[in-house]
Amino acid sequence: MTPLLGALLYVVLAPVLGCLLAGADRIATARMQRRQGPPLLQPYYDLRKLMGKRGAEINGFQGYYLTGFLLFTAGAGALFFHGGDLLLVVFALTLGAVMLVMAAFSANSPYAHMGAHRELLQMLAYEPMLILTALGLYLATHSFAVSAIASAAQAPVLVLPGVFLGYLFILTIKLRKSPFDLSSSHHAHQELVRGLTVEISGGNLALVELAHWYENVLLLGILYLFLAPWGVAAALAGVALCYLLEVVVDNSSARLRWETALRSSWLVALALGGLNILLVPALQKGF
């Protein structure tokens, strides 16, 4: 597969995959709660409905920020599936996330303001581990290029077990799962935990959903890199298992205070990610 084709396929297929993933997530969640759950394509129906709504905006800037959020998130993913520099992918993803936060800030309303801060808190919590993931994959494979990492001789997870677990930990935050869904939970029962998007509606909210689908596929793609040398089937099965684990965690835990979220993710990043990275040369000698 040529690099350009990879990027193109991602741009076209990621929304489909992301949508199916969201649908499967909702069904799995429902079954864990002994419910029937919605049809697999429910997220798609929701998106269509959002797009059909009459627009209502709190100011003229939100559309701009949210388009930026979508473009930069999809751009980060395209760069990833193009085989580009993993660290740049992380930075582009961050740029997209900042755009989303700015959409909330620009509303200047109390709930959106709090939501924006809580999203920033989440970024503060996951950002170190996200960067450490890129650094770890570099140390394991001697390259920041996704194409080179994917074609490594041995699975990076073997020398990076700590980094892998650390990434799984912050994946809970990135996927907006309990116990770390501080800014935008899937279960919108309070304005406080949905503050990030409380002032966003209609087509703009559809942009947010779409960007999340792109983002989730990219995040699972990074997970896939850890397992890639084991072959497509095994690696995909591993990724699916990890995602299922996230759903289980989501359904079996209550939301934590932000202090706990921040402290625990930095501790995990330091203890699992940092220590693992320092030990990579020793681990590599072991093989």
């Binding site: 209502a56 760069l79 660290l87 200047n108 109390p110 970024m123 202090e259 930095w266 990579v280």
Partner: protein, 631 residues
């Protein structure tokens, strides 16, 4: 010819300096500052462009002038005597400060008159690193001086009760620019030390400008710490004269003598740590924020503190791959992390900028300590980008402070809507500091790539420090971009000179982002090719991706400006009926909705962070010194 050009750069600013002292105020002072600033910038750029165009490597400029050496020695003694007398009247405890100054004076006299240190054959030299510092000092220095004309006038209107010291103020600014040119161009260690002490003097007196209690206290603190830095410098010279290493009075000869020169390089590096406000010596930079904003922008953000990292970058080839080098890098990385965390808890815009400056200098120190082609590349570009973007931010905060009557970030909520141009300047500055594809982030990306293999521990610290910078910049940016529901009272106009200067800096921030590869190719790459001839060509390919992002970012607003507005406007959701600026509360009374930023005080205790900064910084600095001296 080259000798005259370099001498001109150092001597020229002294004329406007002395004239300012004579003229003191009025339109004539404005004219002196305009001519002096523009003249200095043009001269610096002419020399720089000529040098880049010539394709030359290191240009040594021999000069045989014993009288000049004697003159500089006399001036240096004058500076030290002046500082000695001032330090005697310091109010806070600090009895050791006069002692250290006296020790420096004795050292200088012993080394110069006793002939323990050979005289430099080529006291001046020109290379890409020096030219980089020269351009930063010349361009940013000139712009800030022009801005200061207007700012100091406003300052005078706002505080008519304070004595008018504008003549002295501009004297010190131009004296400082002369000293910066000296630091950038000196090859003689004795000359370098002289200009080093002059910047200490300028900084001390400029922090005192306002003459109130806080200014005097913080000026004393800056003096005390910078004297300590000077003592490290003197100790380095003394070691050079008496120690077992090479015997030379020239920076370049020291570099050429390799490993035996390491102890001296580490001692001089410690002086650089103090000058660039690394932990545990960082307190003076925070205190220096009491000075008028142009001083903060020029001395304490874009140029003088860069002299510190300049020295470290200069000796970086000696540090590369050594234990003392790693420890110095550790000081920088710890400073980057802790200063970024402390900035999260600040709401005073200037203190946020000060902490962010300390943090970014830490990043450059880490680059210098690790060494190698890529780290040095990132470090040099950081010097440039940080000078432009941070200079812009300080000036924008200064103008906003005069408009809003406060420099609290909370008071800047909705600034972009209230003051469109000024707000745009501040937004560009903030974007330049932390967001892709702007230069700072591009350089940080290279820092991480360069360090992961060479020093994973440093890279981990940088990864952790990166997150809080995101937090405090995004929260500030969010405050600026907030769209308030109703117009607030109109603000006074920003003077056109101030806007013009900020406009130039903002344009430079954007242009530097777009012209990144060209800047790297002209200003930095030839230097690295000379230092690391064996290294493969710089991989700038991902930069092309960055440029794509840059164009997307610039293009997006245009698309949006062209498309019609979407949807109807609605009011914010306030869990109740909207009423004016707020909502109707449960007692049926209108209640104002107030917003306040997060400072994370329950996790990031300022005192604990302070203590960590002190112990970690001091421990690592001490370890670096010991490892350096014993190497």
């Amino acid at each position: 010819m080259i000798l005259q050009a370099l001498a001109f750069l150092i001597i020229f600013p002294l004329f406007p300096a002395l004239l300012a002292l004579v003229v003191k105020r009025g339109p004539l002072l404005d004219a002196v500052v305009w001519i002096g600033a523009l003249g200095f910038a043009v001269a610096a750029l002419t020399v720089a462009v000529g040098y880049w165009g010539s394709g030359a490597g290191l240009v040594l400029v021999p000069l045989e002038a014993p009288a000049l050496d004697l003159l500089l020695l006399g001036l240096e003694c004058l500076v030290l005597v002046f500082l000695f007398i001032r330090s005697l009247s310091m109010r806070s405890k600090g009895g050791w400060v006069p002692l250290l100054i006296a020790a420096q004076a004795v050292t200088v006299l012993y080394l110069d008159l006793g002939g323990a240190l050979p005289k430099a054959v080529a006291p001046l030299a020109l290379d890409h690193l020096g030219v980089l510092l020269l351009v930063v000092a010349g361009v940013v220095g000139a712009l800030v001086a022009l801005y200061a004309i207007s700012y100091m006038k406003e300052e005078r209107q706002h505080h008519p009760e304070r004595p008018d010291r504008r003549g002295l103020f501009f004297f010190l600014i131009f004296l400082f620019l002369s000293a910066m040119a000296g630091i950038a161009l000196s090859n003689s260690l004795a000359w370098l030390f002289f200009f080093w002490e002059v910047t200490t003097l300028c900084s001390y007196l400029l922090i005192r400008t306002r003459g109130d209690e806080a200014s005097i206290k913080n000026a004393d603190l800056a003096l005390a710490l910078n004297v300590l830095g000077g003592a490290f410098f003197a100790a380095g010279l003394l070691w050079l004269a008496l120690g077992p290493g090479p015997k030379t009075g020239e920076v370049q000869a020291l570099l050429a003598s390799g490993r035996p020169a390491l102890p001296v390089a580490v001692l001089l590096g410690l002086a650089g740590l103090v000058k660039s406000a690394q932990m545990p010596f960082h307190k003076w930079l925070l205190g220096a924020m009491v000075a008028p904003t142009p001083v903060s922008a020029l001395l304490h953000a874009s140029t003088m503190v860069k002299a510190g990292v300049f020295l470290l970058l200069r000796f970086s080839p000696l540090y590369q791959g050594t234990l003392p080098g790693q420890l110095l890098a550790g000081v920088g990385a710890v400073t980057f992390l802790l200063a970024s965390l402390q900035a999260v808890g600040e709401s005073d815009a200037k203190r946020v900028l000060a902490y962010s400056t300390i943090a970014n200098l830490g990043l450059i120190v880490a680059c210098a300590g690790i060494g190698g082609r890529d780290a040095l590349w990132a470090g040099m570009l950081l010097v440039l980008f940080h000078a432009v973007a941070k200079g812009l931010l300080f000036l924008a905060v200064g103008s906003a402070e005069h408009r809003l009557g406060s420099r609290d970030i909370e008071s800047m909520r909705g600034l972009l809507q209230r003051k469109r141009t000024l707000g745009t300047m501040m937004v560009i500055g903030i974007l330049g500091m932390f967001l892709a594809p702007f230069g700072m982030l591009t350089a940080k990306w290279k820092v991480l790539e360069a360090m992961t293999a060479a020093a994973p521990l440093i890279a981990i610290l940088v990864a952790f420090g990166s997150a809080p910078t995101l937090f405090f910049w995004a929260k500030w940016l969010g405050a600026l971009l907030a769209v308030p529901p109703a117009p607030k009272p109109r603000l006074e106009r920003t003077p056109p000179v101030e806007l013009g200067v900020m406009g130039v800096l903002a344009a430079m921030t954007v242009a530097a982002t777009l012209a990144f590869p060209a800047i790297s190719g002209v200003m930095v790459a030839p230097y690295l090719a000379r230092l690391f001839p064996a290294a493969p060509a710089l991989d700038l390919m991902p930069l092309a991706a960055m440029l794509g992002v840059a164009l997307a970012m610039l293009g997006l607003p245009l698309i949006f400006a062209a498309s019609p507005a979407r949807g109807q406007r609605q009011l914010a959701y306030l869990a109740g009926a909207n009423a004016g600026h707020g909502f109707v509360n449960s007692l049926h009374e209108p209640q104002e909705a107030r917003l306040h930023n997060y400072y994370l005080g329950s996790v990031l205790h300022p005192l604990k962070l302070d203590r960590a900064a002190l112990w970690l910084g001091a421990g690592l600095t001490l370890a670096a010194a010991l490892a350096g001296v014993l190497s």
